[in-house]
């Protein structure tokens, strides 16, 4: 049975639906990310799980128990807020100890657990510091230690890394993942950063305007997006305008500009074909185009190629082979399984 279960969970503010009848199950020990653009209802969902925002409709169960009438204080969840929400008038140790005090853990035991928690997040020796005297990354760690020390059933993280600079964020991602793996704490992370979601999660929940668009592993959501929204939101993608014609024997003919190939498409007529930049390669034949820009990025090359189906972005690994130069004509090809085909509503 699922550890955490959201059934038909809905939240409306006035006539605005922030979260629209979503269903989600999370297994024990799993790391799940809620990913989506700003305002799609991620925070609202998290706050409903935490118990700060009442549900308009639906039910949330934790370990089989209905949470409707359980106060936030009694849910036993650890939460790290986007702003950290540390208690500024308490030292790091006092911040971390607060949850244990509320649980009436005896003093000696408490001190030990506070020290352990701070050491776990790499802050041994910072016990007596006040939050104002700590860097953003350190504050974030205190917030994490404060949430973890109560041994929460579920750890809820609301964009905890968004205030950190790129380098620190990457370090914290690795650390967060390691801590979560070691402790085995069920974790739900809210983020609008697709890289973060992919780097950390077992499963990603892609949200858009209060709906769940797709739930799947990072690889699944990236390689086989369930919708156009997921395809464009998760990483860069090329969208070529084309057409699907049904040929004999159920096989379809796909036409993109001057490139024609056969594939098993499930629709016909005008379509948009999405292909990831790194899944396009150069060949002798295929979609013809001209290299307009070529950018060297160290481990890879980034090309902008003008074709009659639109400008294509192509990424090629820097594996030592010679690459076409600016102004050269090239042909682009891709594998059928690397494409995502959808109807083009603008045409026809």
């Amino acid at each position: 049975m699922a550890f955490l279960e959201l059934q038909n969970v809905t939240k409306t503010f006035g006539d605005h639906t922030a979260v629209n009848a979503i269903n989600l199950t999370v297994q024990k020990g799993e790391f799940v990310s809620l990913l989506g653009p700003s305002g799609c209802g991620k925070t609202t969902t998290l706050q409903m799980i935490a118990g700060f925002v009442p549900l308009t409709k639906g039910i949330i169960r934790l370990d089989g128990r209905d949470l409707s009438n359980v106060k936030p204080a009694e849910r036993g969840l650890g939460i790290v807020f986007q702003s950290y929400a540390l208690f500024p008038h308490m030292t790091a140790a006092q911040n971390v100890a607060f949850g244990l005090e509320m649980r009436s853990i005896p003093r000696s035991d408490r001190d030990q657990r506070v020290r352990d928690a701070l050491a776990l997040v790499g802050l041994a020796g910072y016990e007596e510091r006040f939050p104002r005297r700590m860097s953003g990354g350190q504050q974030q760690r205190v917030a994490l230690a404060r949430a973890l020390v109560i041994r929460p059933q579920i750890l809820l993280l609301d964009e905890p890394l968004s205030n950190l600079d790129a380098k620190l964020r990457e370090e914290m991602q690795i650390e967060l993942r390691q801590i979560q793996r070691n402790l085995g704490t069920t974790t739900i992370l809210v983020t609008h950063d697709q890289h973060e979601a992919m780097a950390l999660s077992d499963r990603i929940v892609v949200m858009n305007k209060g709906d769940i668009e797709q739930i799947g592993s990072p690889q699944d959501t990236y390689h086989s997006p369930a919708s156009a929204f997921v395809a464009t939101f998760l990483g860069k993608t090329n969208a070529f305008e084309g057409e699907v014609q049904v040929a004999q024997g159920g096989i379809s003919r796909i036409i993109v500009g001057d490139h024609v190939y056969t594939a098993s498409a499930h629709i016909k007529g005008p379509v948009i074909i999405s292909v990831r930049p790194e899944r396009i390669s150069f060949a002798k034949a295929g979609l013809r185009g001209t290299v307009c820009t070529r950018i060297f990025r160290g481990n890879h090359w980034l090309f902008q190629i003008k074709t009659i189906a639109g400008v294509a972005t192509v990424i090629r690994q820097n594996d030592g082979t010679s690459m076409p130069e600016e102004g050269h004509d090239v042909h682009l090809v891709w594998r059928e399984e690397d494409t995502f085909v959808r109807a083009n509503s603008k045409v026809g």
């Binding site: 700060f52 936030p72 204080a73 036993g76 929400a85 208690f87």
Partner: protein, 294 residues
């Protein structure tokens, strides 16, 4: 860099001096000089028939020092100020907290309700209290007597209680504003953070909110205390001539008794006492909260 000697001021320094000179002169003329003159005045002699004599004696100061009338009056002044400070703190803190939690349209409306009185003259506000509670003809007293809750009018005019209540009302906006400013700095999620860690609503108030608005409460306290101790209009109207505080006494000495030197001594003593109290409590607060709130 710092090569220009004081005698050869750089043009920049000179133009800076030129810019602040007018305001400096004005400040000197309307604040510092009268202040020095008041201090000097307090050492002069005065007699019913000879008027002010420009000599240097400690007569006025000795009179204040030895006469229990002045002790009582200063004790009353500071007792009223302390009570007003505590009352505004006790009422202002919840008021500011509730105000801060209100939603968009109501927040603005009630902020205006609280700050609105600042737009009305203190005299008008205090007279309002006098109309409500002034003797037999006070509206509230009349009503209460009519329905038989009380037999005699509630004593309000010319009582210390009356002055304290009316002054608390007058000073409330300053306290609310000061606490409100501290509340604004609070992380909006901080209560949720404490709740999620297992705290009860009461614990959140006591352990999380209260310590954080403490600096606002204390600085509001300093403002209210010094304004209440030196208040004139409210004690003058409610307290009248029977219940004097330092400010009304100094006023009377100047304008009724015409004993300017004694009035000056009272005024200077009030000023010095206030400066000492405010500066030292401010230093105390700053030292206490330095590590926590920069």
């Amino acid at each position: 860099m710092q090569s220009s000697s004081p005698l050869f001021l750089s043009t920049q320094t000179r133009s800076a001096w030129g810019l602040i000179l007018p305001s400096l002169a004005l400040f000197l003329a309307v604040v510092i000089i009268p202040l020095i003159m008041t201090v000097m005045l307090s050492f002069h002699d005065w007699g019913q028939y000879k008027g002010i004599e420009t000599v240097f004696i400690l007569k006025n100061w000795y009179e204040i020092w030895s006469d229990s009338y002045f002790h009582e009056m200063f004790a009353r002044t500071f007792r009223i100020a302390v009570l007003v400070t505590f009352i505004t703190m006790a009422l202002g803190a919840p008021e500011a907290y509730i105000l801060n939690r209100m939603r968009a349209p109501w927040k603005g409306v009630f902020l205006l309700v609280i700050l609105g009185p600042l737009l009305i003259s203190v005299v008008a506000r205090t007279l309002g209290w006098a109309l409500l509670f002034g003797g037999k003809n006070g509206v509230v007293n009349m009503a209460l007597m009519k329905i038989g809750v009380i037999d005699a009018p509630l004593p309000f005019m010319f009582t210390e209680t009356g002055v304290v209540i009316a002054l608390s009302h007058v000073m409330m906006p300053f306290m609310v504003l000061s606490i409100w400013a501290a509340l604004q700095k609070l992380d909006p999620q901080i209560e949720n953070a404490a709740l999620s860690l297992g705290a009860s609503q009461l614990t959140v108030m006591r352990r999380i909110i209260f310590p954080q608005i403490m600096p606002g409460l204390l600085s509001g306290g300093i403002i209210v205390f010094s304004l209440a101790a030196s208040a004139f209009a409210t004690p003058a109207i409610i307290g009248g001539r029977r219940l004097k505080v330092a400010a009304t006494l100094a006023y009377d000495e100047f304008l009724n008794t015409l004993n300017w030197p004694l009035g000056a001594a009272v005024a200077v003593l009030l000023l010095v006492a206030l400066v000492i109290i405010v500066v030292s409590s401010n230093a105390l607060i700053e030292r206490r909260y330095k590590a926590v709130f920069e």
